[in-house]
Symmetry: C2
Subunit: 366 residues, 2 copies
């Protein structure tokens, strides 16, 4: 662990947590969604050919995969190596993660009868390996002060897999359910919200210093659908997570039209994809919220001058006001060169200006 960045302040005083809380920072913090994974050769060596759910269920392996990107890139936060379907799989709903395809559900959610298949999650009984992986990773990170981010799938996005039976491009079944059977839909989301809260609480109890809620596919909804049928359950989860004393992040792809609503979700930080310039995003989420993002992952394939120019544009659009966590606008693509991501961390640390102590305080662009 000799390459972990030295920091004596502990996770709660880390640049990442301070930026989430819109406090001044010594440098702009940066981490990457999907930083642990297929883009790292050491990860592929660690994983071999086993299933991803089996890897997640191995605390030593999961902790190691969590730490690899911190060592490799010098990012300002680790994120637990896990998956958003772990809670539903752990209560026996019957979910597998198929390589190259994503989560696949053997018997999709179709009617009120299926609610019984979603009993409450008891993390320390149903998935004790999750808290154990967090404890192992947090212990290794402790000397450096680098925080660990816990996470869960937001109720809508998890529901989309359960209802569609797998990844979808149209979400026809899940939209049909929310429109045609709103009471059943709300009952489903209530169960998934409770499971997300239990999952996040276990991670925070084990040492996670922040949490991110992935509502990856919320951007396929119109604003009125999001507000009526998704935001209430999302708020429940975020309120419960905030009560644990850690900052909360809410992220989705294609959410330009939803950012105003997401700003009212209770999240401290709203994650933004690459389509919305961060100055626009800041205006939409409103004061009192930080933003996270939003370099296009496709532009991390290089060449480096392309990546650097695009990263500088993100930093410009983030402006100088506190409250920017640098990230990609979606997950790291598997074919990304790790060397580019390492250079990117250096660039962000050297040139980020949002809330950076002593940095130029020019007005935010745009």
């Amino acid at each position: 662990m000799s390459t972990l960045p030295p920091d004596g302040s502990g996770p709660a005083g880390s640049p990442f947590v301070r930026a989430c809380r819109r406090l001044p920072v010594p440098h702009t913090p940066v981490w990457f969604m999907r930083q642990a994974g297929r883009s790292l050769p050491e990860y592929r060596a660690l994983r071999g050919d086993g299933s991803i759910l089996a890897a997640i269920a191995d605390p030593a392996l999961a902790a190691e995969a969590t730490l690899q990107p911190v060592r490799r890139y010098g990012v300002d936060a680790a994120i637990l190596f896990s998956d958003i379907v772990v809670p539903v799989e752990a209560v026996g709903f019957g979910v597998d993660v198929v390589p190259g395809r994503g989560p696949v559900v053997e018997r999709p959610f179709r009617s009120a009868d299926d609610l019984a298949r979603l009993r409450p999650l008891e993390p320390e009984v149903d998935a004790p390996y999750v808290a154990e992986a967090v404890r192992l990773a947090v212990a290794e990170l402790a000397p450096s002060g680098v925080p660990l981010i816990g996470f869960a799938g937001a109720p809508f996005t998890v529901a989309s897999y359960l209802v569609e039976g797998g990844p979808s491009r149209t979400f026809t079944r899940v939209k049909s359910l929310m429109h045609a059977e709103p009471d059943l839909w709300r009952a489903l989301l209530d169960r998934l919200a409770a499971m997300a809260v239990a999952f996040l609480s276990a991670q925070v109890a084990a040492g996670a210093a922040a949490v991110q809620l992935f509502d990856s596919w919320a951007g396929w909804l119109a604003p009125y659908e999001y507000e009526q049928w998704v935001l209430p359950a999302t708020r429940q989860v975020l309120a419960a997570a905030a009560a644990l004393g850690v900052p909360t992040i809410l992220f989705g792809v294609g959410t330009g039209e939803l950012l105003g609503l997401m700003g009212t979700s209770g999240a401290d930080v709203v994650g933004v994809d690459w389509r919305v310039p961060l100055d626009r995003a800041r205006a939409r989420v409103g004061v009192g919220r930080a933003v996270q993002g939003n370099l296009d992952p496709s532009l991390c394939l290089g060449p480096w001058p392309v990546t650097a120019a695009a990263a500088r544009r993100v930093l410009d659009e983030a402006g100088t006001e506190p409250g920017h966590v640098f990230n990609l606008g979606h997950g790291v693509l598997p074919e990304t060169d790790p060397g580019i991501l390492a250079e990117l961390v250096s660039l962000v640390h050297a040139e980020g200006r949002a809330g950076v102590t002593g940095a130029d305080r020019a007005p935010v662009a745009g």
Copy 2:
């Protein structure tokens, strides 16, 4: 053709063309992207198992597929049965449309050498069946006054297939090309713009009364990328099409952040996907532009009360000012019940209020 809606005014005076030009209309016009195709049993009977490019190259078959949805639904416009890759295929670039996958390119565009594979399109020599299909369909439509919409792929979206080699979810190669080799990128788009102009001109000369430019994947770009590397070529095509004297429509998916720029493209009408409420869309595209859209195609799977409620919401958001063409926010899904679309046309005709003569003139909502 006995079920064609009677209208003595001819295509130029049709409700569809008038709405494109923001003139008062007797009823809100409606058509559906992908109205000709797999959702219609008579289309599946007509097509059989042949390739789609072979069907497009058969003028009688293409004209019949163009007319089927007009008879079935009573829509206010036909759209030519064709494909955005027809021009590049016709000059010999080597493109096939694979069922269930989409356009696939045998030798993708990789370097300046590939420009030579994109010689100028001579529609009456390279693809005479296109104008012939338009002529046949327009002749059949003439008694009803229903206009036919010609179309082309916008330079970026066609380029995305040529460069990626097929459908993509990340557009990494095409983004890399525009960022790293902007001169080559512009040369590629110039060729594709010229081909789109030739393709559209042939359709208008053969009787098309309006044209739509499909920039289906533009919404995967950030606004600065769109403005620098896509909008100039799009403007060229739209200016040339407008000079032919027909109204022009520009459509893409996920373009919420681009609507302001699309409003400056020269298009008379900006197509909007289901994510952006039409009142917001109207504000973004600016005065002097009509909007087209934007019912979520997933909500056309019914049950009918769900579809009807969502359609009424679209009509409310479109307001009462002239300049709304009702459509879906993306193409008709193959599993759609044609009966629902027929009911939808009736609802729009009965309840649409944008620029409808004698309708209530209350302020636009939102």
